[in-house]
Symmetry: C2
Subunit: 434 residues, 2 copies
């Protein structure tokens, strides 16, 4: 069996028939119903086994593209000393979203909502010379923002998983190169997740210039409204020129779009769609390095205050955003890249030895092909099993029963299209592994 394959009779997948009260948006409803998450306090969720697998797959893809871009992974703690935020001046400035804590000795601590201060302090204390520059450091860690009214499930939770990266450069050319590398990494990340993300120019302070972008996934239920040049839709992300093309093309959030005196895009090419923000990258120069006294010696001996950018992806939020972008009335439709299992196996008669044997053979052969299987070997009724499979949304569903086996076939269903076929077991495996 594939190391990630599971039998439902020994798994923990508490699906719900009814839509729970209080879940306003479809991703929240489906995540609760499909047994991905459970709320443990307002805006705080436990990730049940199926949900954790999705979260881990998203994180793995984010990590892979960060590594490819040359960013270096580390892991900062969740609890931070307030003094660090006093150095930057943000401790008092940050609003009630900051979860402030006093430890047993009365020292002011906080649950990190972000890590500019901490990473700057660590880098400042370790790096003294241009020889150790530039660097981009990242971590994937839980954050806390004490939202006044948490809602929409993991889309606006209080405890959430985020990938945040921080670049340190000696000069503006370097900082721009670091920013560009992350811009490209973000496009690759969302494509690898099976998503189409639109990079939207974000308003930035006096420092940022044009180096601030948000990445939005298009979904009709999205919280934000975006106006963009529909030429964006035809850019091939695999093209090395894609990042440059995308940055040239017009894309703005509604609020910013409204401020534009004359839109540069002809009306017939201007698309208006709803989106969900899943990433934000921006350059902020010496804001924290200057406030926190970080300097490194340049090649010419002069001391330089490094220029920095920060780059976030909402990892737990993505789980919800993907569902907003990919579902139907029956349930979730996971992109193959992040599905918790590759194949759902509906065993119509787990009590019949021949059917069970065929299912076991299927599990084993799919394992050889590198595909993980969730095998429903429970005594539940067929209708219930099919409904559960549609709800949890695995890319392929194979149904094995005595009638089909007598005819030498199994049923193969593609979740995304609903397309079904009666095939031999071998042909079904070949199609899935295809």
């Amino acid at each position: 069996m594939h190391p990630l394959s599971k039998r439902l009779s020994r798994y923990f997948l508490p699906v719900l028939k009814e839509t729970p009260a209080g879940a306003e948006i479809v991703s929240h409803q489906l995540m609760l119903r499909a047994g991905l998450i459970r709320q443990t306090a307002a805006g705080i969720y436990a990730w049940l086994p199926l949900g954790l697998r999705v979260l881990d797959r998203i994180a793995a893809i984010v990590r892979c593209e960060q590594d490819r871009a040359g960013a270096i992974e580390m892991l900062m703690p969740t609890i931070q000393p307030a003094d660090l935020w006093r150095e930057s001046g943000r401790y008092d400035a940050y609003g009630p979203e900051m979860l402030r804590i006093a430890d047993r000795h009365g020292r002011d601590m906080l649950y990190g909502p972000t890590n500019e201060e901490m990473v700057t302090a660590i880098f400042r204390d370790c790096v003294k010379s241009y020889r150790d520059m530039p660097r981009t450091l990242y971590h994937i860690q839980w954050k806390f923002r004490d939202e006044v009214r948490p809602r929409f499930g993991v889309m606006r939770g209080r405890e959430f998983l985020m990938k945040d990266a921080y670049s340190f450069d000696m000069d503006m050319d370097g900082a721009r190169a670091s920013y560009d590398a992350m811009f490209t990494a973000y496009l690759r990340t969302f494509a690898a997740l099976g998503l189409r993300a639109v990079p939207v120019k974000a308003p930035s302070g006096p420092i940022g210039g044009d180096l601030s972008h948000e990445f939005h996934i298009l979904a009709s239920t999205g919280e934000s409204e975006i106006f963009y040049d529909s030429a964006l839709d035809t850019v091939d992300i695999a093209d090395p020129e894609a990042p440059a093309q995308l940055r040239r093309l017009y894309a703005m959030e509604a609020e910013e779009h409204a401020k534009i005196a004359a839109c540069p895009v002809p009306p017939e090419r201007l698309a208006r769609r709803r989106g969900i923000e899943v990433g934000h990258i921006f350059f902020f120069g010496t804001k924290y390095t200057a406030a926190m006294g970080m300097q490194v010696q340049g090649r010419d001996g002069a001391m330089v205050t490094p220029l920095c950018g920060s780059y976030g992806i909402g990892v737990s939020r993505l789980a919800g955003a993907i569902i907003e972008a990919s579902h139907d009335e029956a349930g979730i439709i996971w992109p193959e890249q992040v599905a918790p299992f590759d194949v759902g196996l509906v065993n119509l008669r787990p009590d019949e030895a021949a059917v069970m044997a065929a299912c076991e053979a299927l599990e084993a052969k799919l394992a050889v092909a590198g595909r993980s299987v969730l095998h429903d070997d429970t005594p539940a009724r067929p209708g219930e099993k099919f409904a559960t499979m549609d709800l949890v949304g695995l890319p392929w569903v194979v149904t094995v029963g005595p009638k089909g086996l007598a005819a030498g076939t199994v049923e193969l269903k593609r979740r995304a299209t609903g397309e079904k076929a009666e095939l031999s077991l071998e042909a079904a495996i070949a199609r899935i592994a295809g």
Copy 2:
């Protein structure tokens, strides 16, 4: 290049020449000096890139053995509502080690020091029938215990990473089987980490009976003292009978040993060694399920209050414990199973094209053999490079320089033994890939 291989010139490995003040024990000193961790507040550490790789490898091994034992992974949040702990009666009983927090609405929260209450609440709300039993659920998550005097680095930190598993069974036979499965999983886990762990009978309350064990790694700097039957040292962990043998053999912490009227082990066979506790498993019956009103319907229709056990491994603590058990004057000696890189590559002349080309060939060939490389391609002096490699303790060090290359050789050093050999590049790779 292997996906995990790195060039030091673009990595973040801030090693320290001096032993930092305040680090009392050797693992703490070496973790700081080798650039594995940095303290960000008392008892709270950031895991630098090299340290995170070790932590990830330890967690992966723990996860693998939990999965093999049939435990199901999920992920509970770090912040918990106090009301959950009021249900069990532990909110007031738990001492000042609990980090208590009020959120912006004044609701009592806490940073979870453990998860019996939360996992019981989740399982209670999802499972109603014997058909969904038994189950063992686990997660690997950061915990917080507000130690009055945190010290010894990650060995007694405040924010620490722990694997905690919880079993739910319908009857005592089942509970004992769940306990036994975890006992075996723990032996396998420590063996897979390259460690020898002694299972010590732990004192347990009136419920526990003989179902409570601590696992200690032997190290002369260990905090606890253990008396045990030296026959334990000769048990082959790979033997299927090992768990039963180990449980029969005498092993007690000094405090408990002192209470024994007559030690069952003859003096010549009684070993007395120091140990570090890295795991604890115990059965506690219906303590939380009863207090929190969890019942499931049995096969005969009667309601049953499930019997539970909990099973912890200190994942971040293990990083320190391994160093306590495996180091010398020059630095860390990582067991191969958890080393951050398989091979350290000392490039004596990164400015010479032929030397760099040989190093690149080595990286590529080791990647094919599945071995990751930390390539020191910096302009530092040879002596400094060798000292850094000894300090960070990778299992193999290959030195490539112009003289050796002229003679067709590289130097291969085994960190654990100090054994060195001049070999052809191919022979060195063959030895490493062994």
